[in-house]
């Protein structure tokens, strides 16, 4: 791929900052969703871990960041790092329990973990605020940039963190470790036969993915200064999978496209009618699965090829 293409999404994100106006907070939530979807791409897309429980990590990170800000320190970066780390530890523990299973059993176990965590958070209302959620204040980023009313700091802060995670994800999937995940997805038995420690590899990628999802949750809590039980809900897990497949799995940039299209479509359709968006998203999903297995990235690929042919056609050399 031409390196210039890599700059495109980031340039668009920066351009959005200057042109968004009142939509900047919507932009921030898109960035948070991109990070969540990206994390799912590592676990589900590359390693083939079928999960409907990523909301557990998203919510764990969100509550972690909120509780850290309230009880320990209001510094955003410190809170983010701590929330990310504890989410990773949580993922290692749960991953060790469940990652020897596959298919529907694994799906149900990830689902059960998310439900258990949501119920626990609901019951421990003295700590988590229960249905009311937690509202808190954050200190300035790096001690310099306050979270302002227009969400400018929030947007740029989220964008920078997303970029850092994207670079990490890119390095991971293009490393020998990432290639071995490809093999594990295609056939665990064969990878085991050539001596790959499948279980450990799965735990490792599960932890990385969960840390990323935890970061996304922490960012969502920090930028809105609020965390509620919905961060742990089944809908979050479901939406993350939807955004990933809509955009295209195993592409990394698919997360960008899927999350952006999903949030924008939902926002517009919900304005027409509060239930209309379910119709649109449902239809979009079915169409994607039936006709566009590579997701929206495939449309982009077709467009790029067409563009190249057009350029070559006009160029006499």
């Amino acid at each position: 791929m031409n390196p210039a293409w890599h700059a495109l999404p980031w340039l668009l994100a920066i351009a959005f900052y200057f042109t968004a106006g009142g939509y900047l907070s919507l932009g921030t939530s898109i960035l948070v969703y991109i990070l969540l979807t990206l994390s799912l791409d590592l676990a589900l897309g590359y390693a083939g871990i079928i999960t409907l429980g990523h909301a557990a990590f998203f919510g764990f990170g969100a509550y972690g960041a909120a509780l850290f800000a309230i009880h320990v320190n209001a510094d955003p970066l410190l809170g983010l790092v701590v929330a990310t780390a504890v989410t990773a530890v949580f993922a290692v523990v749960t991953g060790m329990l469940i990652l020897h299973t596959q298919g529907v059993t694994l799906l149900m176990l990830t689902l059960a973990i998310a439900v258990l965590l949501a119920e626990a958070a609901n019951r421990a209302y003295k700590v988590t605020g229960g249905d009311d959620g937690l509202q808190f204040t954050m200190g300035p980023v790096l001690g310099l940039f306050r979270f302002d009313l227009w969400g400018q700091t929030a947007y740029l802060y989220t964008l920078v963190i997303l970029f850092v995670w994207f670079v990490i994800a890119w390095k991971v999937v293009h490393s020998p470790f990432g290639r071995s995940l490809d093999g594990i997805r295609q056939s665990q038995a064969r990878m085991r036969a050539i001596g790959t420690p499948v279980w450990w590899r799965l735990i490792a990628i599960y932890a990385i993915s969960a840390a990323m999802a935890g970061s996304a949750g922490a960012l969502s809590a920090q930028t809105t200064r609020f965390v509620g039980l919905n961060t742990l809900g089944l809908l979050v897990s479901g939406i993350a999978v939807v955004m990933l497949v809509l955009g295209g799995t195993r592409r990394l940039y698919g997360a960008f496209l899927g999350a952006a299209v999903y949030v924008v479509v939902q926002d517009f359709a919900a304005k027409v009618n509060p239930f209309y968006w379910m119709f649109v998203i449902g239809g979009l999903l079915m169409a994607t699965v039936l006709f566009l297995e590579g997701g929206l990235m495939e449309v982009l690929d077709i467009g790029r090829r067409w563009l190249r042919r057009l350029l070559r056609g006009s160029d006499p050399t």
Binding site: L44, I50, L52, L97, I98, H100, T101, G103, V104, T105, L107, M108, L109, L111, A112, I113, V115, L116, E119, A120, R123, L234, G238, V241, V242, V245, T249, F275, Y276, M278, F279, I281, G282, G283, L284, L285, M286, T288, V289, L290, E293
Partner: protein, 288 residues
């Protein structure tokens, strides 16, 4: 003692409803290996249709029968249009496709009927309490237990005793071998799928008293149905019966005794059961 009996009876009635609805999911997920997140939609459609017909003056059982038929037909249409292309695709595509279908179900029902809860009036001869000797108990719940038991016996008899059942068992245990001896596995699964959807519709009708009927039905109770099938063992009817009854009794007991942590207990149990027996309580031979 009296409390224990009530918990047991309530749990049984609840478990029977779960079982009736989950039979169809056992078929799709267990036998045809399609992760079907849209299954709750068929139960919901059955319930809504029956509610509409009863309001229009159709007697309860006639409405239930018609709704069962309609859910079956709906299942047949869905099988031919939506599910056929899915058989060859991976689990992820199946999850998404059926998730999308559920969204469309919910949006369509909201558009047609609004978001309010639909009540299915119980016929007057089943509405009252019945005297059990030491206390009274709602007749309708006893009726649910009886119907659930009869259906289980019927399903068991058909699967263990009929030619159709023998073919089905063969197709589950080893689809390639079954094809080789001349069984039309695809047609067999299609028929079973339609019957499963019809049963889900029936469960949606008679279980409406326990599982609240509104457009989000399809998502809210989906996890329960999935759990029944996964815990019971994919493709095992006996397993899903045992799982449905166990989960029904455990959840009811939890609600009675530990109101605060009932849902937590239920899913903790599911978690432990699945870790202990990853293939379910009573997996069919091909899996075990």
């Amino acid at each position: 003692m009296a409390t224990a009996t009530v918990i047991l009876l309530d749990g049984l009635a609840y478990g029977m409803v779960l079982f009736i609805i989950s039979v169809g999911l056992t078929v799709t997920m267990g036998l045809m290996r399609v992760v079907n997140l849209a299954h709750g939609g068929f139960a919901m459609a059955g319930g809504y249709l029956a509610a509409m017909m009863i309001r229009a003056g159709v007697p309860f059982f006639a409405a239930a029968a018609l709704a069962t038929l309609a859910a079956g037909i709906l299942g047949g249409i869905a099988e031919m249009t939506v599910f056929r292309p899915l058989y060859r695709k991976g689990e992820l595509a199946q999850v998404l496709m059926t998730f999308g279908l559920t969204f469309v179900f919910i949006a369509a029902l909201t558009w047609l009927f609004g978001t309010d809860v639909k009540i299915l009036p119980i016929p007057s001869y089943l509405a009252g309490p019945v005297d059990l000797g030491f206390r009274t108990y709602p007749t309708y719940r006893l009726f649910l237990i009886v119907v659930g038991l009869l259906l289980f016996l019927l399903v068991w008899f058909v699967i263990e005793g009929s030619l159709y059942g023998a073919r089905l068992r063969a197709a589950v245990d080893n689809p390639r071998m079954a094809r080789a001896v001349g069984i039309d596995v695809n047609r067999l699964f299609t028929i079973t799928f339609v019957i499963g959807c019809a049963l889900a519709g029936f469960g949606g009708v008679i279980g409406a008293e326990m599982l609240q009927l509104d457009p989000f039905y399809a998502l809210r109770y989906l996890v329960l149905f999935l759990v029944v099938v996964a815990v019971g063992g994919l493709g095992s009817f006996k397993g899903s019966f045992v799982a449905a009854i166990t989960l029904g009794v455990v959840e009811t007991a939890g609600k009675f005794l530990f109101t605060d942590i009932a849902a937590f207990l239920l899913f903790a149990l599911v978690f432990v059961l699945l870790l202990w027996r990853p293939n379910g309580l009573l997996p069919p031979k091909s899996v075990a």
